[in-house]
Symmetry: C2
Subunit: 380 residues, 2 copies
Amino acid sequence: MTIYLDNAATSYPKPPLVYQRMIESLQLSGANPGRSAHRMARAAQQIIEDTRLKLAKLIKAQSLEQIIFTFNATDALNIAIKGVLSTGDHAISTTLEHNSVLRPLQNLAQKDILLSLVGFDSQGFVSPQEIEKQIRPETKLIAVTAASNVLGTLQPIAEIGDIAKRHNLLFLVDAAQALGVIAIDVQQMQIDLLAASGHKSLLGPPGTGLFYLSNRAKVKSWREGGTGGDSLSPLQPVELPFQLEAGTHNLAGIAGLGAALDFLAQESIEKIRCHELSLLEYLLNSIQEIDEVKIYGSNDLTRRVGVLSFAVASYRSDEVAAILDQHFDIAVRGGLHCAPLVHKTLGTSPDGLVRVSIGAFNTLEEIKLFITAIKEIVVG
Amino acid sequence: MTIYLDNAATSYPKPPLVYQRMIESLQLSGANPGRSAHRMARAAQQIIEDTRLKLAKLIKAQSLEQIIFTFNATDALNIAIKGVLSTGDHAISTTLEHNSVLRPLQNLAQKDILLSLVGFDSQGFVSPQEIEKQIRPETKLIAVTAASNVLGTLQPIAEIGDIAKRHNLLFLVDAAQALGVIAIDVQQMQIDLLAASGHKSLLGPPGTGLFYLSNRAKVKSWREGGTGGDSLSPLQPVELPFQLEAGTHNLAGIAGLGAALDFLAQESIEKIRCHELSLLEYLLNSIQEIDEVKIYGSNDLTRRVGVLSFAVASYRSDEVAAILDQHFDIAVRGGLHCAPLVHKTLGTSPDGLVRVSIGAFNTLEEIKLFITAIKEIVVG
């Protein structure tokens, strides 16, 4: 039985009800939601709207039509970034970001926009003040990850939201590593644009992404096509969520995500976070005692999610990951984790680090076995 | 038990193995494919590549990296259209198209490109010669549906492909209603860009789309982000399929699609087409005997897929669909089917038509019950 410690890539396993609802949705109401008016299509539509409501409640959205279902978080981030920036605009982001934020921004910065990237401190935190310093008259957008996918460090989202609000800028949060383990309140945190995966800490299946936009955020259409209604309009309708939801929904995925959200509500995000932090604490304390291991990021557990990256002396990160896989059946991820500037800053590029990411279903026993494995590796 | 005749929206049911493989993929190898190197991630990647190979064989692609997994057909069409057209280009398409082709083109035509839309004849066919007449020096793209989602008429794709090749234009085919019921050979038909759904006649789950591009088609990046490899590049990598596959794959969807493709290979597309055509023949012959019913499109079965649209005297199309649903538990789709210009041409806008769409699992008994229901409705 694999010890799965790669939950930052995708969570595994899912709550059993997720699998069940995926299949039930297709077997019992596997029509095309929103496309026809017959009972099977209405039942399918109900599944979509039930999950939309659960997501709206989770992030405290003002209204349901602000919740858009996307392919994945990358899809949502592209919708956000390309949807709000126009020629001449200036955007501020950070070197903590994943390539799903960096690449759209850096592509636009080749000719259309201006981009400033703010660094992070030795503990892995971005400074709101450093972000504020970069603001100029052309600034339109601040884009920041809620939690680093390499260091696990939680960023001061609410403070940055205050700054964005004060300067009348749009604030985009990449919540791929945060939503489902920390409370995110889009109104309180002044978030205008939020992107997240359904298949990471939300515990849903892949093929699901979430995009939220506030009332003041106007986003250009992205995927244009059929929406089931308003067929006569030659252009994409402007009404949300239809403007941003062309094409057939991933019914099974959204049904599974709905089941996952029920699980999170029942177990409570606080309880899951508590569990993950207790495992992280044990992991941090134990791994720090191994001389050959160098860990990165903050020791302040309250400012972390269950992600830890480290180097092992005289091994490349992919070697450690391969030995853990082959000899111990432990799944972790080596390399750069699609976040090149984090590793450049840490001086760990191009080799990268070994990343352990804890999920809701990991146990203390698994963490102990992982520590034992690392100790065996360093002994050689 | 619902009589499901809405297969052009999405096919129902799926082959049983589709549901099973979806769940197995998540339960046994539910890691993030291509993201880590451990055995679960490799097993997940294998599922993706197995399905990619099956799709490549199905459409006779030259190589595997030409097969791109997308969110849905709409996503693939947006990638194609926005990926090849630049300011000043001219595109030719048809009034038979779905909004997923029309809306991206019409949006671009507002300022960046020039667009010509060719009509169709009284039988529901586009003329290759009419398309050729529209070609000018600025023409870059010809975009045509393989089968109308309203009339079910198969378009002369190979002939149009010849014209595109002769004039050195890119040829985009919307195969959403065709792939899985007719043989599509991208090389023989000179198709440069192909978009299709995984969840219609391919019998896979929703959340899956296919995009194919030929070696001579260069497409701009669309969804930019992490690809699992090449993390150091500040821009989206140019290598296919990675250039067009950023973000986490819909593993369960792609696993299910793989099972569906196995089913199609085993049963054979020819046999399924034969079955659907025999039901369509019975349907056409029987419904034509009802005076109050007016059918649209060609009577030539060899040039149709299992889609039939009709009007019933003194009823709106949505009324007929609602009565069929409520009184007979028969699922069909009324309205405009996201293809407004088809209905405008037919003179059936804005009311639309009743669309019956036959799938692989429909039976003659179901078609007979449907005919009986229509007869009861017209009697009132």
